[in-house]
Symmetry: C2
Subunit: 350 residues, 2 copies
């Protein structure tokens, strides 16, 4: 078996120093003289030396790798621009601090859980980022019980101030969106959400309910609909809405892509957005601007969600014992052309 790769020993030999000295040069230890540093660096250069991460990880008990946990692959998650965008943010935050990202894999809940346990107990990652937040999450409980460093994207279901998380103010965002529609004269406002186990959904629903209640508008159960996936583009949901005794005149929809799918479904059924029906959605995906209708959407700054998540986790790794912290990423209401005044008087909102 020939030599597999150049090690610290080879460099040491060529530079006529001890391996430990080479190690110190790599770490740029100030106690090494400039002279030897130069000599060692020349040797590294000459030999084409590259440090071995695995060996370093073993010695340091730290890999500089962050584990990413995604919901099951069948999830809606993969079907809209949220995922790639948050990933870009995560990647950028990690990269700036010389961390890498390892993906959890697994189709079923159980496989994913196993994967996380392996990552954690196997020492493959220094910390974990949960890309979603939902009710009673198995994996979150596990990480908490192990006291393993992690951050959450989304609001925690419980232990709010023991968990570090990055979130939007989904409550306020939904409340504002609802108020906007109310001010436009709408009273029959529907709420089309994603999976109701997600905290994001819960918060938005609260905001929606509170906005209506404040204005003395009664909540109608049939106006609150959980749309399973984006798969059928909300066609079923659209039909269901139109079949109501009193169909809503405006909708708040959890995601731009779903909004677009539903707008199309409505069109086929003879209902046009915004003429017959207004809609506001979330995410402000890049196509919201050139779709038809152009979507009025709440931009939740997905990239930042990811970027801050990486950074927060890394901060916690560098400062162990620092208290749990929250970051709220601001949202922007982007007014386009998918809403129209209704009834009484159509006012314009700035």
């Amino acid at each position: 078996m020939g030599k597999l790769s150049i090690t610290i020993k080879d460099v040491a030999q060529l530079a006529e120093v001890a391996p430990s000295t080479v190690s110190r040069v790599i770490a740029n230890n100030p106690r090494i003289s400039e002279k030897t540093k130069v000599r060692v660096r020349e040797a590294m250069e000459k030999l084409g030396y590259h440090p071995n991460f695995i060996a370093r990880s073993l010695a340091n008990q730290s890999t500089k790798i962050l584990g990413l946990v995604l919901p099951g692959s069948a999830d809606v998650f993969y079907q809209n621009p949220f995922f790639p965008t948050v990933l870009r943010g995560l990647s950028e935050g990690a990269q700036e601090n010389q961390y890498s990202l390892l993906l959890s894999t697994g189709k079923t809940e159980e496989e994913i859980y196993e994967g996380v346990v392996n990552m954690v107990q196997g020492g493959m990652v220094d910390g974990i980022i949960l890309l979603y937040s939902r009710v009673n999450d198995h994996i979150l409980s596990y990480l908490r019980s192990k006291k393993f460093p992690f951050v959450l994207i989304g609001k925690p279901f419980d232990f709010d101030d023991e968990i570090t998380y990055i979130d939007n103010d989904n409550y306020t965002a939904a409340k504002e969106a609802t108020s906007y529609l109310i001010e436009l004269g709408h009273e029959k406002i529907g709420f089309i959400s994603g999976d109701s186990d997600y905290m994001m959904t819960k918060e938005r629903l609260k905001g929606y309910v509170d906005a209506l209640t404040t204005e003395g508008i009664p909540i109608k159960k049939e106006y609150i609909i959980e749309n399973g996936g984006v798969d059928e583009g909300g066609k079923q949901t659209a039909k269901r809405i139109l079949s109501l005794a009193e169909p809503p005149t405006a909708l708040i929809i959890g995601d731009d892509l779903l909004a677009l799918g539903m707008a199309n479904s409505f069109r086929e059924l003879g209902i046009r957005v915004p003429d017959h029906l207004s809609m506001i959605s979330f995410n402000n995906a890049f196509f919201s601007d050139f779709s038809s209708p152009q979507l009025t959407s709440v931009d939740i700054n997905i990239f930042d969600l990811g970027y801050q998540a990486s950074r927060s986790l890394i901060h916690h790794l560098k400062h162990p014992g620092s208290p749990a912290s929250k970051v709220i990423i601001p949202h922007q209401f982007i007014e386009r052309c998918s809403c129209k005044g209704f009834g009484k008087m159509a006012m314009t909102i700035s």
Copy 2:
């Protein structure tokens, strides 16, 4: 400093065997008696032992991790469903063989290159998957020169039979699409591609050209347009097309999302798909079916592209020295409603 984690030694002690025996039990070595296996497993259970991947990686000189290289983050890549879908495939192929996925990070070409070198020389990954194929790729050359195991998604620019790759038959797919339009009576057919450095683009263009040539239809340069990104939804491209002296009556478009963006742009300009203009796109994204128009699209089975890529790479890792291999993932022409007959006689194609 207290004990950080349970090691093989602790298990050995409790089970009253040597550490190497524990190691053999983990590997399920047949030379260990069932009796001791049971005893050791009980000890592992009792202590809550989990093997340390890092230590194992160091000893084995193998991490069971595959590195994923994505194009720069500004790339169109992140903006359409290709990425999440291929990732799901990669993930599934890896997971089935107990491999994990590590993401390359980096915004610029240079950062990404550095990242790959670190992954490879640092021994973090056993192999690399390039999620794209383009002309004169720096990273590919590097991997080749290092003789480091990798697979390519897409057709290699050169050294076709020295490189393991997974691809569609993009040439034939585009040729078929073009022929379909010709049979519908179209002669003025435009070709709207993505980045022309991608091999995928090049192959499709060849297929397009050959289909036209076969039918004796001259190639017009102004019909072949490279659309920078999906960002502006192809609005500029749409305008440019309509400003031509003889605008095409049909288009072949590299991606569904771009097709949809352009269809909208055309609509605003008073041109309707498919009544005034036919279009065929690629990918058969999940929304192609409920968009308007419903897109006639070539399904390239993106999931399989990823799935087979993982599997091929893992196969090569398990059988070092096995020759380079290619896998061609079949495509399907999905006929929907974005094309219409033109001129002479509108025939229906099965």
